[in-house]
Symmetry: C4
Subunit: 248 residues, 4 copies
């Protein structure tokens, strides 16, 4: 694996919490992380190009190009912490690359002495979810109690089959370095980009971080769209269950 990292600022960060929000099931983690970066006017810390991401550029409305990359963004003084987010359009292309790219990024993050690592994702149930709950796993008993108070649920041996990809890698790496780690997963059908599930994740996350009065109204328009499609899917499921096989 080869990477190119470009730092775009050199902030003095303390009391750091690292939050991963790359694409995945229902894009729940990505939507949640992108929303918080936008809402709190995050600044770009670094851009990472990697042989484990597709060799590809996208073209914008003006005909300029943007290369596929993953990015680190930061916000200072959010309820007493500085936050670093990992966001982007892709996870690594191969299982081997997941390990190597996440390890590479984690070693960059270690320099900021993170006190807590949080990964965000979706928990695909394969059926329409009316009231998505936020499933959590952690390596810390105090955090577990706190998360339950904040509205997250813990269920024995769930997700079945475990957690895979970047959401798994960063809590694994954190644990190896004796850093507290949480994975928050919003329940989702997995059929669509799920803004509603992402909103639930944002709400639990903000409570856990001590962020008050986060304004999630910007998410509501997208949620209404998802709701409507879900209702149609639900109706379809009731009349013609086999037609859902495409989504599964």
């Amino acid at each position: 694996m080869e990477n190119v990292i470009t730092y775009e600022s050199n902030p003095d960060l303390s009391n750091v919490i690292f939050i991963e929000g790359l694409p995945g099931v229902g894009n729940v983690g990505k939507i949640a992380a992108d929303f918080l970066c936008y809402q709190y006017k995050a600044k770009r810390l670094a851009t990472i190009f990697s042989s484990e991401l597709p060799p590809q550029v996208f073209v914008d409305k003006e005909g300029y190009f943007n290369a596929v990359c993953t990015e680190l963004w930061y916000m200072k003084d959010i309820a007493g912490h500085d936050l670093i987010f990992l966001v982007g359009d892709f996870q690594a292309s191969t299982p081997q690359g997941q390990f190597e790219l996440c390890k590479y990024i984690f070693e960059k993050i270690l320099k900021y002495d993170p006190q807590l690592v949080i990964t965000l994702g979706g928990y695909g149930l394969g059926e329409v979810v009316k009231e998505p709950q936020v499933l959590a796993v952690t390596n810390n008993t105090i955090l577990k109690t706190q998360l339950e108070k904040d509205g997250a649920v813990f269920r024995p041996n769930e997700p079945q089959g475990g957690i895979v990809g970047a959401a798994a890698m960063f809590i694994m790496l954190a644990n190896e370095y004796d850093i507290d780690a949480i994975c928050l997963m919003g329940e989702t059908s997995g059929f669509l980009l799920d803004h509603k599930s992402a909103k639930c994740v944002v709400e639990v996350l903000c409570r856990t971080l001590g962020i008050e009065n986060v304004d999630t109204s910007d998410m509501d328009a997208s949620i209404q769209q998802v709701e409507q499609i879900n209702e149609e899917v639900q109706a379809l499921a009731e009349t013609n269950p086999e037609d859902l096989s495409y989504f599964r």
Copy 2:
């Protein structure tokens, strides 16, 4: 390939025998190794995370997570030897990774100056095995005589097609370093987790190691289950042979 190794103890080991018991055909090697580690209260020596293992964590009954890894466990003073076991839930994901990960682990083991390397596995026959024999291969004539006395069998050119994976890699590497090496393979249908075959491997292994009076009664409940399923498979095979194709 990238790995992270974490040592969890620093024992003073001598007269070391290294035993590999990773998953494989019928999980015979894994069941045998896990049983001995449990029975003799092995202690964890080191945990190895690797880009050649799935990027995945499992969740336990309390909602805490355990990352996919391979582990080294040890037991001191077992019939005059200190034993190091390699156990885990996965072998490496790719053929290239098998070589690289096993070589990586073997180089860690070399520091303990092993006198003998033993790999455990299953020998899949594709049909129900009533009285599993333990097939052996080695690189040492004295060990061959000993193993035959201990109940193992040697058959010309068997396993047909040779031995693959971690069980092959560690005896290959041992041989390159002029270390005595044995592979023990319990005959198994290969259809199921085969505790009965594993018990046979444990018995031969204990005789070869000079371990007396090993209590394998804990394996018997599982064996009875396997026996029963095997009888059903056998009955099926006699009445409707094609229905077994699923297992083959």
Copy 3:
């Protein structure tokens, strides 16, 4: 990845423009680059053998062999610039290799202090193109204005799905090093080697480079062939559209 690079000359180059013309959709970029190298009697700068290219040699008319490789060629004093071309018969075999091989080559090019990086390619429309336009993307507003004057077109968010492969990698790398970058893509059906589209790319490129009176008449014989086949394809498409599925 492993590479072997052999330099075949050591020219003193200044005011360098680097132009990539490897195979791709309709081979538009390769045809354009090969034409210019031939027309302006380019000299070979270096040959690059790579584990990311097929392990293969071709045999010529005399029974001598030529190994698969990519090559750098140069021409001095072309409208005030020295040009370096990257040409060859293959792009890298894997997505990971695209990144690593292009990065390797780009680092060799950096030593010549390039002022501009241009990648050439085809833009596959999946249907016969009568008058191919040349689509451009860039990272520089002044170049954008210039390219539009030179006959290139910019279209919002096109190519849809972005640009992939070497054409993407080199403008991505240039951008990371704050070097001006352009990708020129000739519209093409993508069904055939498209000399006509390549000629359009050559014409825009020459205007942008300030090359006057380039004689493209050598391309016309090939173009006539393509035209004729295109007419046949077009006739087929009108009478029997499904028969084109082979090409798509």
Copy 4:
């Protein structure tokens, strides 16, 4: 890629010719190389284990194991030259590995200052070959004349599609180091292990090396077997051509 090389002797070699004979079409190159090593009582120079070979051991008639590897063998004073052969049961598993493993081996061979590199292979025609010719390619005009005198043939642009794998890699690498290189390919149906084609390659090779009176009678039993099967295949082809599809 990771390799382990073990040297088993340290001969003083001069005037070295390196000959590759790994498995391939009809195993022509392997049969020819193995025959010459056997006939001239070659001695083992080195054993190479590689992550690019299958992680596998074979079991012999006594129950001892032999790991998959490639091997270098040598013979001194053969018609004025010392010969080093590369033989084994496998080529590298991946295209990338072909490049990397051959380059690794070639760098070991360079230490012996080879004056000539010869690769041996089969040229699969897809139909029964009664009188196999030996096709040659080279990078040297004098060798070309010599080879034609020795009974090899040169055909323009043949093999169509070029030469792939280890046979291509070693003449490519030799050429990059300005070392004379030859590839000899015995025509073969490609359906079977082809001892007859291998014998033709041996005859041309011995003439080119100046080896006189090589006794190829040991190859004749195997050839008769192949002849007989070929006649059956031929008869089948005449009565029922589709039945050959299995071999193609």
